[in-house]
C-alpha cells in the first residue's frame, strides 16, 4: 500500500505529470464554466487523446478534469445564476443573492475553498476505506459479482432523471450493444453482420465520444446563441472579499465536515451524482443551522454545504468504481471506460495490480484541486466571460477536435463515422428523454454481468441455485429487489 502511494507521489513530482494536471484543470474549469458542457463531455472529449499515453499521466489528466469541473460550474452559478453543471444548481440558491448584493468574489472564494476542503475529505475517505474494502472485494466470487453488477445496473437506471422506465430501456440497449463481437468463451460471433470492423465489438471510444460529446455538440450548434450577454457579466465586481471568503469556510468546521461526510457517503453509492450530494447536504445543512432563515438569501453556509459535498463526492465515487467496477457517479462511468482503454479491469485485479494508479488519481484530484482553487480565484473574471461566447463559435472547433481524437485512437477512419452515428442516436435519445448514461453503464457492465453469470454456471454445473445460496449473493439479490420496490412503493404511498 505504502509502496504504491510512494510511487504515485513520486510520479506527481514529474513536471510532465504536473503539466497533465494543469491541462486537466484548464479543460475541466472551462467545460464546467460553460453551461451544458459538464464533466462527462469533458472526459469524453479527452478520452481518445489519452490512448497510448502512459496510464499514470492519463490518470493525472482525468484527475485534473474531475476535480475542477465543479468549481468551474460554480462560477456562473454564483455570478450569473446559471449553474455550469447540474450539481451547482444548489449553489445558485445562495451564491447568486450574494453576488447581487456585491459579494460575488466572496462567494466565489467560499466556493473555491469549499471545493478544496471537499476534495481533500473525499480523497481521505477513499484512502482510509481502500484497505478495508480490499479483503471484501477478494471475498467476492462470480455469483456475488453477478448480483453486484445487476444491482449496479438497476441502481443506476433508477437514479436516472424523471423516468426510470426510460433509464432501464437505455441500460438494456447498452447491454445488447455490448454483445456485439466475438465471444472467446464460446468461439462464436454475435451481431457482427459479417463485418470485420465489428469483430472486436463496438469500439468504446467512438461510441462514448459520439454518444455524449457529438450529441451535445449537435444540440449546441443547433441551438445557436450564447448562454449569457456581455451586459450580465459586466455587472460583476471582482475586487476584494477573497480572504473573507476563505476565512468563512475555515471558521465553520462543523459545516464543511458534515458536508464532506454526506458528499463522500453519497459518492460511494453507485449511480448517484453530485446533484444528490449537493442537494442532500444543502437540506441537511438548512435543518441543522441556527440561521435557517438566511438559506436561499445569500447564506455562506449554503454554499459551503453544496460545494463541499459536490467535491467530496468525487473521492467517494472512486471507491466503487475501482473496487467493483461500478461507477459511483455518471462521470465515473466515463472513467471506467478510460480504465478499459488503458487495459485495466476495475475490481480485484485492479486493486491487486494497479494500486499506484488509484493513488495517482486520488493525489491528482487533491493537487489539482489546490491548483483549481488558487488559479480559479485569479481567473474567475475571464472564466465567466466564456459564457458570452456564441455556441456556434465553439461547436466547429470542438467537433473537429473530437473527430480527430476519435480517429487517432485506432487510426481507423470508420471510427469517426461510428462516432457520428452514435452522436445522432444519442441526440435523439436525449431529445426524447432517454438518459444516455444508462446506455454506457449497460454497455460497460453488460459483459461483466455475462462473464460472472457464465463463470457461476460453470462452477455450479449449470445450477441457478448458486445465485441464491451464497450469503453475500443473497443479500445483494435482496438489495437489488429492494431498489426496484422501494421507489415504487414510495411513489404509490405519496399519491
Amino acid at each position: 500500500m505504502f509502496e504504491s502511494m510512494a510511487l504515485a507521489a513520486t510520479r506527481l513530482a514529474d513536471p510532465l505529470a504536473l503539466a497533465m494536471l494543469m491541462t486537466g484543470v484548464v479543460i475541466g474549469t472551462t467545460f464546467g464554466a460553460l453551461p451544458g458542457l459538464g464533466s462527462i463531455v469533458a472526459l469524453s472529449v479527452v478520452l481518445p487523446f489519452t490512448f497510448g499515453m502512459d496510464p499514470m499521466l492519463a490518470m493525472f489528466l482525468y484527475a485534473g478534469i474531475m476535480s475542477s469541473v465543479t468549481f468551474g460550474g460554480s462560477v456562473p452559478a454564483i455570478l450569473l445564476n446559471t449553474p455550469g453543471t447540474p450539481p451547482n444548481a444548489a449553489t445558485c440558491f445562495d451564491g447568486y443573492p450574494m453576488a447581487q448584493r456585491g459579494e460575488g468574489a466572496r462567494a466565489v472564494a467560499v466556493s473555491a475553498t469549499s471545493c478544496l476542503v471537499g476534495s481533500v475529505a473525499g480523497a481521505v475517505v477513499t484512502i482510509l476505506l481502500l484497505p478495508v474494502i480490499k479483503p471484501i472485494v477478494f471475498a467476492f466470487g462470480p455469483p456475488e459479482f453477478f448480483w453486484l453488477v445487476v444491482f449496479g445496473l438497476v441502481m443506476i437506471a433508477f437514479a436516472s432523471r424523471a423516468n426510470m422506465v426510460k433509464g432501464l430501456i437505455g441500460g438494456g440497449i447498452g447491454i445488447l450493444l455490448s454483445m456485439v463481437g466475438y465471444s472467446d468463451m464460446y468461439d462464436s460471433f454475435r451481431y457482427t453482420l459479417g463485418s470485420n470492423y465489428l469483430w472486436d465489438g463496438i469500439p468504446l471510444v467512438p461510441f462514448v465520444v459520439g454518444l455524449f460529446a457529438v450529441s451535445e455538440l449537435i444540440s449546441y450548434s443547433a441551438r445557436g446563441g450564447a448562454t449569457l450577454t456581455a451586459g450580465q457579466t459586466a455587472k460583476i465586481n471582482w475586487r476584494g472579499q477573497v480572504s473573507m471568503g476563505i476565512m468563512d469556510v475555515f471558521s465553520r468546521p462543523t459545516q464543511w465536515l458534515r458536508a464532506s461526510i454526506i458528499g463522500a457517503g453519497v459518492g460511494i453509492i453507485p449511480g448517484l451524482g453530485g446533484g444528490v450530494a449537493a442537494f442532500m447536504s444543502y437540506f441537511v445543512g438548512m435543518k441543522r443551522t441556527t440561521e435557517p432563515e438566511l438559506y436561499g438569501k445569500g447564506s455562506v453556509e449554503g454554499i459551503i454545504a453544496s460545494e463541499t459535498a459536490n467535491d467530496a463526492k468525487e473521492g467517494g465515487a472512486l471507491l466503487p468504481t475501482v473496487a467493483f467496477g461500478l461507477p459511483g457517479s455518471p462521470d465515473m462511468a466515463i472513467l471506467l471506460g478510460a480504465f478499459v482503454l488503458h487495459g485495466m479491469e476495475p475490481g480485484p485485479l485492479m486493486l491487486r495490480d494497479h494500486m499506484d494508479l488509484i493513488y495517482a488519481l486520488l493525489f491528482g484530484i487533491v493537487v489539482s484541486q489546490v491548483a483549481t482553487s488558487g488559479l480559479g480565484l485569479i481567473a474567475t473574471p475571464w472564466l465567466a466571460r466564456l459564457s458570452i461566447l456564441p455556441s456556434r463559435w465553439i461547436a466547429p472547433i470542438v467537433l473537429v477536435l473530437v473527430f480527430a481524437g476519435t480517429y487517432m485512437v485506432r487510426t481507423n477512419i470508420f471510427d469517426v463515422g461510428l462516432a457520428i452515428c452514435a452522436g445522432i442516436f444519442g441526440y435523439i435519445m436525449r431529445r426524447y428523454g432517454f438518459p444516455l448514461i444508462t446506455i454506457v453503464i449497460g454497455y460497460i457492465l453488460g459483459p461483466l454481468a455475462e462473464k460472472s453469470y457464465l463463470q457461476s454456471m460453470q462452477i455450479s454445473d449449470n445450477s441457478l441455485m448458486i445465485f441464491v445460496t451464497e450469503p453475500i449473493a443473497l443479500v445483494l439479490m435482496i438489495l437489488t429487489v429492494a431498489t426496484i420496490v422501494v421507489p415504487i412503493v414510495a411513489a404509490w404511498r405519496k399519491r
Binding site: P35, I40, M164, G172, I173, L176, S195, V276, F414
Partner: protein
C-alpha cells in the same frame, strides 16, 4: 383513450423494433451465449411496451416518475446540465448535415485539407465571424491536429482520393470493414 402519436412515441416504437430484431437474431446463438441478449432484450421490450401503452394511458406511467434522486432530495443527473430546449428539426438536421459533411469530406480529402476549410466555412456562414479571423482559427485548429498526430506518431488520414500531396492529401488506404 387519448392518442398521442408524437416523435417520442415513434422513436420508442423504432427502438422496440430494433430490440425485437436483436432478440430474433439471438435465436441463432449457442445456448449460453443467448442468455444475456434474451434477458436484456425481453426485459427492454417489456419496458418499451410499458412506455408505448403509457403513451395512451399516462396513469400507468406515474409510478415510474419517482426516482431515488427524488426520494433522497437530489436534483438531476450530471448528464443533463440544462433542461433540454426543444430545437426545431431543420436546425438539428443542419447541424447533423455539417457533421456528416465533415465526415464525407475528410473521408475523401483527409484532415489536413478539410479541417481549415470546414472550420472557416462554418464560422463565416453559421457564426458570422469575419473571414480573416475564421481562416486564422481554421489554420490554428488544423496545425493543432496535424501536429498532434505527428507528435503521437499517428498516421495522418489524407483521404482516399489518389495521392495529391504526399502524406497530406490523398493516397490513404481504407482499413478492412
Amino acid at each position: 383513450m387519448k392518442s398521442r402519436l408524437n416523435g417520442a412515441f415513434i422513436w420508442t416504437v423504432l427502438l422496440g423494433l430494433f430490440v425485437l430484431l436483436l432478440v430474433y437474431v439471438a435465436r441463432g446463438f449457442p445456448d449460453l451465449l443467448r442468455f444475456t441478449p434474451n434477458l436484456a432484450g425481453y426485459g427492454t421490450l417489456a419496458m418499451i411496451a410499458i412506455l408505448i401503452v403509457g403513451n395512451f394511458y399516462p396513469k400507468i406511467l406515474r409510478w415510474t416518475e419517482t426516482t431515488l434522486q427524488d426520494l433522497w432530495g437530489g436534483g438531476k443527473t450530471d448528464e443533463d446540465a440544462t433542461p433540454e430546449k426543444v430545437v426545431p428539426w431543420p436546425d438539428v438536421i443542419r447541424a447533423i448535415g455539417y457533421a456528416l459533411g465533415f465526415l464525407v469530406s475528410v473521408f475523401l480529402f483527409g484532415f489536413p485539407a478539410v479541417t481549415p476549410v470546414y472550420v472557416t466555412l462554418y464560422l463565416v456562414v453559421e457564426a458570422q465571424v469575419r473571414f480573416v479571423w475564421a481562416a486564422l482559427v481554421g489554420v490554428f485548429v488544423t496545425t493543432l491536429i496535424v501536429t498532434g498526430m505527428v507528435v503521437l506518431h499517428v498516421e495522418v488520414w489524407a483521404g482516399i482520393i489518389p495521392e495529391f500531396i504526399p502524406d497530406y492529401v490523398g493516397g490513404s488506404i481504407l482499413p478492412p470493414i
